[in-house]
């Protein structure tokens, strides 16, 4: 085994992402970006029928991704915790909603309330039971990710033990599809989209503009400073976890009513949530919403373009987002919080 230390004096080459960014800032780079945008527009017009379908189906089916991503981004940006168990917050929202919907016969929109509240409370409980003790014992960053991974496993397989593998469904009345841009979409999906977008925007407004939202961001910026200026850190932290849970639970209920409710529901979306947050997060919550919606449109567009092979579109989207992440490099951590 040899000790492999580079003793040469040459300065290391700048990271790949930085070189790309520098290229983009030159004149040719800027022209290149405009050409690429123009090409995208031409493609959009040329493949309008495909793009139309991608937009409608992507937005209608994957809209909850934006809401779930906003919740995850709040948690990540404001507390610094990557919570893998957030996937199960989403799943449990779907189960809570389905439970009230099928057992008590609640209307779907009404059952969103217990779905969101249940997940919100669960999120706070996980904070108290696991993440707060971990924080107090100075558990490292990677270890907290592993801890939340363990929690995610326990919750997911616990659900599987209780409910089994089978898929369950919301009981919602059949509705005639309505036409948008010449395509039939179940009205349910349209209201879901509207609800998701409204929810995400309300969260955005709450965090950016209200007094409480400003307090939350202050805490994230500097805990000690926040404390001396009279903000109660515990209350604000709880609020963050609760709001993240609300968003996740509502997203889960929307996912559940769109397809089916199953223990793997949240986990199957987790990679996308994570990618949307990491890629969009540098531009704040707006970026996360755009990245979440864009991801849905991309997946459905690619699925339509590559007929019959749904998995390729997912592979391509994951690759694309990871490449974007790589190009951006460590700028994420320097970016302003939310």
């Amino acid at each position: 085994m040899s000790l492999d230390v580079d003793r040469s004096d040459e300065s290391p080459a700048p990271p790949f992402g930085k070189r790309v960014r520098e290229l983009l800032e030159t004149r040719t780079g800027r022209v290149g970006v405009w050409v690429a945008l123009l090409a995208a527009l031409v493609l959009l017009v040329a493949f309008w029928s495909l793009a139309r379908k991608a937009l409608i189906f992507g937005l209608a089916e994957e809209a909850p991704l934006a809401l779930a991503a906003v919740g995850f981004a709040l948690l990540y940006r404001l507390t610094g915790i990557i919570n893998v168990a957030y996937a199960e917050t989403v799943t449990l929202g779907a189960y809570f909603g389905m439970w009230f919907n099928t057992t008590f016969g609640w209307n779907f929109y009404l059952s969103l309330v217990p779905a969101a509240l249940g997940s919100g409370v669960l999120s706070v409980i996980t904070y108290f039971a696991f993440f707060r003790p971990a924080h107090r014992r100075n558990v490292g960053v990677v270890e907290v990710i592993i801890l939340s991974f363990g929690l995610s496993i326990v919750l997911r397989y616990g659900l599987q033990l209780i409910f089994g593998h089978e898929q369950r469904y919301f009981k919602v009345p059949f509705q005639n599809p309505i036409k948008i841009l010449g395509l039939g979409v179940p009205p349910f999906r349209v209201t879901a989209l509207a609800g998701v977008v409204a929810g995400a925007l309300i969260l955005y407004w709450f965090i950016q503009k209200t007094r409480l939202g400003i307090q939350i961001r202050a805490l994230a910026g500097d805990e000690k400073l926040a404390q001396v200026s009279g903000i109660n850190p515990l209350a604000v932290t709880l609020l963050i976890w609760f709001i993240a849970g609300l968003a996740g639970g509502a997203a889960g209920a929307f996912y559940g009513v769109g397809a089916s409710v199953r223990p793997l529901l949240g986990w199957s979306k987790f990679l996308y949530i994570l990618l949307a947050v990491l890629v969009g997060g540098a531009r704040g919550l707006r970026g996360v919403i755009v990245a979440g919606l864009g991801m849905g449109v991309l997946i459905s567009g690619l699925t339509l373009a590559i007929k019959g092979q749904g998995l390729y579109s997912e592979i391509l989207v994951v690759l694309l987002f990871i490449i974007i992440l790589k190009l951006r490099g460590n700028r994420m951590s320097e970016a302003a919080k939310v």
């Binding site: 492999d4 230390v5 558990v139 801890l147 929690l151 496993i153 326990v154 990491l278 998995l311 992440l325």
Partner: protein, 319 residues
């Protein structure tokens, strides 16, 4: 010597435990020393397994190579392919932080799973593919064959453990620890941190691929269900349980988790027969997940605790 007590299930359980120790040892180098939280272990494991199967079954090797020639060539290709994947993923994640590493490795494991499902022509899709065992020419019967592969896996694990122990005592090991504990400092002292992480990740991935390939040989059948998140979880919980900074951590930890559950609970506890198909695998994962949480909250360094080096430094410092 009568080997009747050695049931087929026990051999397979021992094989699984040994393989998990191997994966946990490789994870120990990546996570315990160099601080790279690899959540995509199963991706490299699965790539090795499938690469071996595809090269073995789908490539028309010349007859002259014989069974063993094609076997070793396919095995070599599997190691090379997973090593190359390690270079690629390592390049992607080596200058990202914990979140980027999580998404890169998790994304890689998902992509491997999706490819195994969708590339039906090569992998057999969801039904999987049957793969030949090069031992079949000897007509030994089933049990000696699985014993043989158990021995191969044990040798592999002993080799990996020996390597890990050597790394701990070498300057290279100190370099890895420096990278894991304070990368910026190591870089400012002139250590090539990016290259170190990249090479380490590639070697670890190649090793995981080799273990995956041997799993494929032992199973005689390669299916997407073999490359679920459970593999990553078992290796990770074993390492964390034993102590991610210690040479013996992976061994002690895996014996106490996978060993305890797969061998003691599943074979020697009187459990109702109806549990084995559906309930026990789920309970196993819950047990592992709960162990991860408990260990990290109450004994974050694992059962074995600090690195020997740290204790030594402490003693020298105080004395």
């Amino acid at each position: 010597m009568s080997l009747d007590w050695l049931s087929a299930y026990l051999i397979y359980a021992l094989f699984t435990v040994a393989g998990t120790i191997g994966l946990a040892q490789l994870l120990h180098l990546q996570m315990g020393l160099a601080g790279i939280g690899n959540f995509g272990i199963v991706g490299f494991f699965g790539l090795g397994m499938y690469a071996w199967g595809v090269f073995q079954v789908r490539i028309p090797w010349p007859e002259a190579l014989g069974d063993w020639g094609t076997f070793f060539l396919s095995l070599l290709m599997a190691v090379i392919v997973s090593g190359l994947a390690g270079v690629l993923i390592g390049w992607v994640i080596s200058d990202l932080e914990g979140d980027g590493v999580l998404v890169g490795t998790l994304g890689f494991a998902s992509i491997m799973y999706w490819l195994a499902l969708s590339e039906k022509r090569w992998t057999g899709g969801a039904e999987g593919m049957a793969v030949p065992d090069p031992l079949r020419t000897f007509n030994w019967g089933v049990k000696p064959m699985s014993l043989f592969w158990l021995g191969v896996m044990l040798l592999l694990v002993v080799g990996i453990t020996y390597y890990v122990a050597r790394v701990h005592r070498s300057p290279y090991g100190r370099l890895l620890i420096a990278v894991g504990q304070n990368e910026a400092l190591a870089r400012s002292l002139g250590k090539p941190t990016f290259r170190t992480k990249l090479i380490l990740f590639a070697l670890g991935s190649a090793g995981m691929g080799l273990i995956g390939a041997v799993f494929g040989v032992m199973n005689h059948f390669i299916r997407p269900t073999e490359i679920g998140i459970e593999v990553t979880l078992a290796a990770m919980v074993g390492l964390v349980m034993g102590g991610s900074a210690r040479v013996w951590g992976a061994i002690v930890g895996v014996l106490l988790t996978a060993g305890l559950f797969d061998i003691v609970v599943q074979i020697y506890l009187p459990l109702p027969d109806s549990w084995y198909q559906i309930t026990l695998p789920v309970v196993r994962e819950i047990f592992f997940g709960a162990m991860l949480i408990l260990v990290l909250l109450w004994r974050p360094l694992g059962l074995l605790g600090d690195m020997r080096r740290d204790k030594l430094v402490e003693r020298l410092g105080s004395g």
